[in-house]
Symmetry: D2
Subunit: 302 residues, 4 copies
Amino acid sequence: MSQPLRGIIPPLVSPLRDRDSLDVAGLERLVEHLIQGGVSGLFVLGTTGEGPSLSYRLRRELVERACKQAAGRVPVLVGITDTAFTESVNLARFSADAGATHVVLAPPYYFPAAPPEMLEYVQDLVSEMPLPLFLYNMPGLTKVSFEIDLVRRALDMPGVCGVKDSSCDMIYFHRLLEVARQREDWSVLVGPEELTAEAVLLGGHGGINGGANLHPKLYVEMYQAAAAQDLKRTRELHAQVMQLAGAIYTVGRHKSAIIKGIKCGLSLLGICEDHMAEPFHRFRDAEREIIRERLVTLGLLR
Amino acid sequence: MSQPLRGIIPPLVSPLRDRDSLDVAGLERLVEHLIQGGVSGLFVLGTTGEGPSLSYRLRRELVERACKQAAGRVPVLVGITDTAFTESVNLARFSADAGATHVVLAPPYYFPAAPPEMLEYVQDLVSEMPLPLFLYNMPGLTKVSFEIDLVRRALDMPGVCGVKDSSCDMIYFHRLLEVARQREDWSVLVGPEELTAEAVLLGGHGGINGGANLHPKLYVEMYQAAAAQDLKRTRELHAQVMQLAGAIYTVGRHKSAIIKGIKCGLSLLGICEDHMAEPFHRFRDAEREIIRERLVTLGLLR
Amino acid sequence: MSQPLRGIIPPLVSPLRDRDSLDVAGLERLVEHLIQGGVSGLFVLGTTGEGPSLSYRLRRELVERACKQAAGRVPVLVGITDTAFTESVNLARFSADAGATHVVLAPPYYFPAAPPEMLEYVQDLVSEMPLPLFLYNMPGLTKVSFEIDLVRRALDMPGVCGVKDSSCDMIYFHRLLEVARQREDWSVLVGPEELTAEAVLLGGHGGINGGANLHPKLYVEMYQAAAAQDLKRTRELHAQVMQLAGAIYTVGRHKSAIIKGIKCGLSLLGICEDHMAEPFHRFRDAEREIIRERLVTLGLLR
Amino acid sequence: MSQPLRGIIPPLVSPLRDRDSLDVAGLERLVEHLIQGGVSGLFVLGTTGEGPSLSYRLRRELVERACKQAAGRVPVLVGITDTAFTESVNLARFSADAGATHVVLAPPYYFPAAPPEMLEYVQDLVSEMPLPLFLYNMPGLTKVSFEIDLVRRALDMPGVCGVKDSSCDMIYFHRLLEVARQREDWSVLVGPEELTAEAVLLGGHGGINGGANLHPKLYVEMYQAAAAQDLKRTRELHAQVMQLAGAIYTVGRHKSAIIKGIKCGLSLLGICEDHMAEPFHRFRDAEREIIRERLVTLGLLR
């Protein structure tokens, strides 16, 4: 686990049976589906995993079972983002004990911290971490970014091992790569799957892509083509990823359509249940039928 | 406690000794300071109380001790806003057992719910509540508003008893009043203290105003003047509230300056400590000195 | 005209016959309708007047005819906001020659100027003005505000005579009043009509309210009640204004619904045509029918 | 001129001697500098050209002189974006008469049009155009985007020839490419230069990049490497572009720093004056000295 992460690390959906119970068998199938798809790691309790919407009890159960199922075959990253410092530390410690390999931290998402406040926050938190930490830039949901200057300062913080950027801002991403060039052991990963091809072609190390839950092989192959600088093949696979995203994420009218679409698809594929944590609810039959047809068109379902 | 709330209900700061310990004596002094100042209730774990930044353990301790100290003399409202449904329910039940009288709910603040999703969320949550619930509109920090249509639907939800509006949007506030006119037992309260005068002059029922931590009597008198429709006196007291807010909330450069200023002032007044929960830190000596001078100018400190 | 403006100054809609021709008779009727309604001035080429959407030729024609029709009975204010400095100056000079009494300036609305840039801009522009100038704060459409510090600096700029605030932010408005208290010859006016009551009750000088196009008398009476500190009457009239705004501005689905609603109403009242400047188009028959019914309900149409 | 545009088309700065006079010799030198640098066209009156900040007289003078100097050697594109429909049409006609080859239209930037309103607007405007039109997506300054659905509809509008996207949103850009694949005669160009490499690697047709004013050859070579799918060379040149942008655009504190930096650099290179149109002003000596040093470091100045 001491090598830097490279490749596709799916942000796992959190399979639920109802409001506060895990779909245990579904989680196990999902982990197997992803590892067999060739992924380089598993990221639990991220945005796609509805992490902040789960009770603390459920979060811990999910971490424990995911680590157990992964059984050391691939690294397990755990999202520890929280508005309460102590709770982030608590979950990080629990995750280390459960066998996770990395933690992932987005800014606290109630109060927006100003840049100097954020720097102090990260410094204080990193010093309490039992595992290597990824900074997770997600301004669309946390209101604020980790500024490039903070990332530059983080180069000297023991325990920080890279950045996941879900800002959709590729200028920011290229600046991250400039900064991270000084640390070969860092990983700079991109969030939205539509941007993984260019991110890797221009020096990034992989993607934390929601759609990889559904079709891990496609994302892994796209990563490999880009990492091998096979531009022609990368473009073909990027077109397929664009098609999958365009098909599955546009069924609902709200922003929640992405996670709902992935979970609905996984349910149709027989992998796990599609119960959503509040404030969301799973797709009703009409939307489910559209997802079914699109999975057929995409060749993922017969 | 069955009467609708009217008047000033301060959102208590959370007195801390360090990252995860309550300044118990400070909390007790604060509660006494406020009750002696004539307030109509106490609101704990709101935004001014840095609720989302506290560990769950600390939140429960604070609820318990605040209720104990209030000892039934005034209602105690508890903020139960959370990104996880089950945790909101857990804290509401704990609060009811501890002697709180109301709970206060802002939208979950990680994923922004679209209006129909929010309606379902509120319906589901209200049905689990052991205490009357206030809707707390705070779009600046939760990204989304409770739309007026949702509030209209909430008129028929047993257990909803009013709205606290911190949007700073007085058009929205007037629409709330139109809706709430049908329910004499509801309370429509305003957040920012600079707006309490006009809110009450035009039909609102009071304010949940951070500055009342420092000087409860001023806010209570302003409320009483406005409720009595004494316009001349209301304007005088409103000018004083504007002066206090302008003096104390503008010392720091960041948005956190408001809470930092209030806590620093309370520390200078000898009421409680000014430790801040992460991601913030208390004012350093330079800012503290400015706050001291301004409290002197305001006549709150010699 | 040397007295400070007090009262209701409607932002006139711009009556159009088609894309680039004025409905001259409609404009004349509108001016008469407003003056007979007791307004304290006329504001042309504001937001409600779709000023930025009109060709320069048409803007000048409208200024000229409005001034001619007003014939000195009330002040005429002209919006000179432009992204090009020289064009603002040109229109100000034209307006002075045509008999206008004041000009009104919002920030240039393509490039957002930072506070020090804005200060230089206002200083440079004011020095070229042939008429007293109002600062027009409209961040929703110009992206940036005139900061309170800039307004404070403007106290010493010869030629600035007040502020119109359409930010909907009453805290900002109260800070404006604090600043303007030093200049009895200034006017601090509020934009959205839903806020005029409280603005005047707490020290403001009047309103530039779109709905006054339709029913000037209502707005004038509300202003007079508030200025006379008759709180009971102010509340009654404020409720009527809320009702009118709630009825007429909510028919279309887009933000343009306000101007479309006012123009449609004026057309139904027989005052002027309702052609809209691009990028908007007048209401179709279905929406027009709803507006008709609501005007009947409001007692403005039989 | 009937071939689709491919390559680098710099958005020319507008060389000014003072508020309302063109630096004619500077413009001529700039045009020669760019054509000798190998650019595929010239775009005047864009954002970098401070188009909306210039008087109408000056805009026409600039169009006329740029076309005369270009003398048919490369296409000349003219920004006709305006808040007034008729003025866009007027400038388009003037440009056609002056010898321009294309016009470029961003959404009207005062009133934000909703999608159906924008569609009508574009349809109406396109039908009046004497030249092929590019849609220019620039939501950061115009508040609204041309939605992908509108672009899809524009495939069937005679006279539309492509899109320039300055949204910085590469997911949007990839969706544009999917749509435009049906029209080989369209050009899909990207705004920010930091994104041109990936845009072209994945199927885009070129860039409208501000930095190309300073160093056209670098941008043209980067385009050519990317168009030739030479990934290694593209990465080297992209790194140089990132370096130039990082050096020149970060001197001022405000958003205006980009245009100020480019103009200041051009002045130091002896190409044209650096007077800025209001609301901006040129860099003072301190910033100019920093730009000078950075140009030396970049090898552009000795």
